[in-house]
Symmetry: C2
């Protein structure tokens, strides 16, 4: 059901001063549904089945437009991949070194001490952790038996 609850995303685009289109709605919808950790290729793979004529250029155009309008931000946990995040509330990102999934976790950014940044004007805060997620820890323990 490709059209379910598209109205919500349609409005979100307009709210942010972005002209709505089918492709843009689908990209935004996908970003929300995957919890905002997709890269351009993920989005392309997810959508070009339903929109066979979809081009990667459109994905890139759309993501850059969203970025410019403040609808998404870029995250990059290890400097290799560029991923897009729609959830702008305070949260950190955790990347599992084994399964490579990215998890959100709440972080009260205000509790991070800023003594070292006197005189700086901070506009964005990112916290990136790496390690093993519960599933992968369990898998490893089972193998070890």
């Amino acid at each position: 059901m490709i059209h379910s609850s598209n109205e919500r995303y349609h409005l979100k685009l307009i709210e942010n001063g972005i002209q709505s289109s089918f492709q843009r709605i689908q990209v935004l919808k996908y970003l929300y549904e995957c919890e905002g950790h997709a890269n351009a290729e993920d989005i392309y793979q997810a959508l070009h089945g339903e929109i066979p004529t979809l081009s990667r250029t459109t994905i890139y155009n759309t993501l850059n437009l969203f970025l410019e309008k403040g609808l998404v931000r870029v995250i990059s946990i290890d400097g290799v991949e560029k991923r897009y995040d729609v959830i702008l509330a305070d949260h950190g990102h955790f990347k599992c070194e084994s399964c490579e999934k990215i998890f959100n976790f709440p972080v009260e950014m205000d509790r991070i001490p800023l003594e070292g940044l006197v005189g700086f004007q901070v506009t964005e805060k990112n916290v990136y952790f790496n390690g093993l997620c519960p599933d992968c820890i369990q898998t490893k323990n089972q193998k070890g038996k």
Copy 2:
């Protein structure tokens, strides 16, 4: 004086199970001297004056070797650039949106609450902030007058 205090870096390489070479010493030295925020091109530009035959391939080979041996880690504040960090003690990175310089600042990672990561095993913690550095704030204020 290209050879000044190279012994220190020579030993550092051997300590980390890396066969020493002139190029590798120079790369490591540069990473320490620039406080660890260089990308491959920075290193190439800095060194190929003194080592005219130096190739970018060697820089990449060397950085990947260092990474593998745990001598450096990759940082990427905005997902666009891959930079290498040799300073492994607890610190955050601040990138100025105007002059694009990267600053270190001390962060006590242990004070970041982990309630959201129960069951996870955290091996690496990164804190990336963006904003304006004191110099650029001043420059902007002067323009505004």
